[in-house]
């Protein structure tokens, strides 16, 4: 499954360690939420990065005290129409100020990319290779944004009320063929 980061397909430097398996001394690892919470102190001593997979039915507030120890949080889309992780992502970024890598995993399709970026995700495990290659195009699909989210995109309301000087980035064309 291709991993997209900073707009490009990259190699995943993290290794997933199953519950019960020993955590290697070196190298970046991702562990389950239960494993992480059980061994948080020990894992926090590692010099190499530690990440956690956090299920979408668990309150991210439970992660807050541990965030300084985490280099990565992976949130889960069991089906792409299950949108709970969008709220988790915004809370992690905007309320708990998590600055590490926020990864989308599970059923991730290109049609979600822009929503994911706007919610604060910055890496993506993409199901279909063609979608991974279309990342750049898919995230530039829209130039008009109404909601202020943590991604900092300028909203229409701020431009209209004269707080930001910015015209629409693209001129509307005639739409009909």
């Amino acid at each position: 499954m291709p991993l997209v980061k900073s707009g490009k397909v990259v190699e995943d430097r993290y290794v997933r360690v199953a519950d019960g398996e020993p955590v290697p001394e070196q190298g970046a690892v991702i562990v389950s939420a239960d494993r992480f919470l059980a061994d948080a102190d020990e894992l926090g001593q590692r010099s190499d990065p530690v990440g956690v997979i956090w299920p979408n039915n668990r309150n991210v507030a439970d992660l807050e005290p541990h965030l300084p120890k985490l280099a990565l949080v992976a949130l889960v889309f069991p089906a792409y129409k299950d949108g709970r992780a969008y709220s988790q992502a915004r809370l992690l970024r905007e309320r708990y100020r998590f600055r590490g890598e926020l990864r989308a995993t599970g059923q991730v399709l290109r049609d979600q990319f822009l929503f994911l970026v706007r919610a604060g995700f910055d890496s993506f495990e993409v199901v279909k290779p063609a979608d991974a290659l279309a990342f750049e195009e898919a995230t530039k699909r829209y130039s008009v944004f109404f909601q202020p989210t943590g991604d900092g995109r300028v909203t229409v309301a701020r431009v209209r009320s004269g707080r930001e000087a910015q015209a629409p980035q693209r001129q509307p064309e005639r739409l009909s063929a």
Binding site: Y86, F146, Q171, L175
Partner: protein, 552 residues
């Protein structure tokens, strides 16, 4: 009218381009039907019994004449020459081909129309009072708030994959013409004791198989806080709404399971964390939206001009229409005219391309180019000078939309039912047609006074049968269509769910049952001006039940 700017036009252009790509991926098989499903639904596209259906939003029910002409064009070019107005200020085209959908959407976008978020598990078209901005009983124009919400919730990155659909209605009038209580979230403008205007927020209304009316969780919310409060509600719903069972996924179930008080407390806690952040509405932003709603340059006119009195005396049909379909306007000398889309024996809410074009022309001539769409599946011309009413009547009469049956027993709300819909268990339209034929005599219909019949072809309740004065629900029993009948429901400021009167009756008996109920009412009412709904309230269902089942 609301003035769109380059931002709105750009967004629609980008949306059409995205959808064109999605259809191309579906046609090549790159997307399977399951993956395509959510994407098409978010553009208002359903797969029905015979074809794809396209649902177009008419935000807050306001339509310009050029938009109505575009709907007529789409009806002719891509459909079978007609469209169907729904109970949520939308219009549906039932016969569109998948490969032509992107072109149809592009044509609609030229007239600032779209199907974004008219279906799927997202925030749906935000509805209001169809008389917004012209109703004498409103404290301010609710569309400003509907538009602020519409913009904020369009392609919202956090709330585009909710557990289930989410419907919001806004009203600012004494009389609730927006059916607030049956919405997932209701926003009612009112004044508090200090004379300030703000919102009363209700949550958890909805019909379907488990009907609930909204519960008020915030009696008074300041205007600056509307977006942050709605965001808090949606954030809780997105995280905690049930996703294990589609029939328990609406917010009404979450509110019911937690209890409204506890749900309100959870919302309050979330809202406190965000209310002073970027969503706090500053007056400049509100003023900017308000300034985009343009009102006609009304003339200074007197109420009841002489020409009107003369026409009333000389033409009995005009007089009947005037009494039935014309309502008071907040500006002297003007009137609001309702156009009945309920001709006797036809499909409620259907409108042909020819009618749409003619209505657009009449709107240009007599209503400053503006048309409204109401949840009762009728249209309105909101700014008609009273002196023009006789000429307008002639124009409307010529195209069959001046039938004076507004709010009467033949002004039936019905879903498309088994004639179109893949979810339906039973037909709804033919039932409506038969009932309207039974009450085709307008003297009889008028004698019954205000009486709303709502018909749904399945438990999903698109025809809002729970809140009909008489509600009719189609069910299937051993392969046959049966209908459950409720009475006493209403969707206005005294909203109430109807009560079942007894066992379901077969298709052939439904119109007879309605006649029995109507006759019972005439016998039971205390005075000629006691409405049906008030008689039911006073006596309960029992005497009606006795009448209906005595001979069955």
């Amino acid at each position: 009218m609301y003035l769109y700017d380059d931002f709105d036009r750009t967004l629609l252009a980008e949306r059409v381009a995205e959808f064109r790509g999605q259809v191309a991926r579906r046609l090549t098989g790159e997307l399977n039907e399951d993956e395509f499903r959510s994407l098409r639904l978010m553009n208002g596209i359903y797969l029905q019994l015979h074809a794809y259906m396209l649902r177009i939003a008419i935000p807050y029910g306001t339509l310009a004449s050029d938009q109505m002409r575009k709907l007529a064009y789409v009806a002719r070019r891509y459909d079978r020459g007609y469209g169907h107005f729904t109970t949520r200020q939308n219009i549906q085209f039932h016969w569109i081909k998948l490969a032509e959908l992107p072109d149809a959407m592009a044509d609609l976008a030229d007239a600032r129309l779209h199907g974004m978020q008219t279906s799927g598990n997202c925030v749906r078209n935000i509805t209001t009072d169809q008389w917004a901005g012209v109703a004498p009983d409103e404290i301010e124009d609710p569309r400003i708030w509907a538009e602020l919400l519409r913009q904020h919730l369009t392609l919202h990155p956090e709330f585009s994959f909710l557990p289930r659909k989410f419907k919001i209605a806004v009203s600012a009038a004494q009389h609730d013409r927006a059916a607030l209580a049956i919405h997932d979230l209701s926003v009612r403008l009112h004044r508090n004791g200090a004379g300030e205007t703000g919102f009363e927020i209700g949550v958890g209304g909805g019909l379907g198989r488990t009907p609930f009316l909204t519960k008020i969780i915030k009696p008074f919310l300041a205007k600056r806080d509307l977006l942050s409060y709605v965001e808090a509600v949606l954030r809780l719903y997105n995280q905690y709404g049930r996703r294990d069972n589609i029939y328990k996924a609406r917010i009404k179930i979450l509110v019911h399971e937690l209890g409204a008080e506890r749900f309100g407390k959870e919302v309050e806690a979330e809202w406190q964390a965000i209310k002073d952040g970027t969503l706090a509405l500053d007056p400049a932003i509100i003023a900017d939206i308000a300034a985009r709603f343009r009102y006609p340059d009304y003339e200074r006119l007197e109420d009841n001009p002489a020409a009107l009195a003369t026409a009333r005396k000389s033409d009995a049909r005009f007089a009947a229409w005037l009494d039935n379909s014309v309502s008071n306007h907040k500006v002297p000398g003007y009137a609001i005219v309702t156009l009945s889309l309920k001709p006797i024996g036809k499909t409620p809410g259907d409108c042909t391309a020819e009618q749409m074009d003619a209505i657009a022309d009449l709107a240009d001539r007599y209503s400053f180019g503006e048309i409204r769409v109401g949840h009762e599946q009728n249209l309105a011309l909101p700014h008609v000078a009273q002196r023009d009413l006789p000429a307008l009547f002639a124009g409307l009469d010529a195209i069959g939309v001046a039938i004076p049956n507004v709010n009467l027993i033949s002004d039936i709300i019905a879903c498309p039912g088994l004639d179109y819909c893949s979810l339906a268990n039973a037909r709804a339209i033919p039932v409506a047609q038969e009932i309207s034929k039974r009450f085709a005599d307008l003297d009889i219909a008028r004698g019954l006074g205000r009486l709303h019949i709502n018909i749904s072809g399945c438990i999903n309740a698109c025809g809002h049968h729970h809140v009909g004065h008489i509600g009719i629900l189609g069910v299937e029993k051993n392969g046959e269509e049966f209908y459950q009948v409720t009475i006493g429901g209403r969707a206005d400021e005294q909203a109430q769910l109807g009560t079942l009167i007894g066992p379901a009756v077969p298709y052939d008996d439904v119109a007879d049952v309605v006649e029995d109920i109507a006759e019972a009412y005439l016998d039971l009412r205390e005075r000629p001006d006691e409405l049906f709904i008030d008689t039911v309230k006073r006596l309960g269902v029992e005497p009606f039940k006795e009448r209906v089942y005595a001979t069955r």
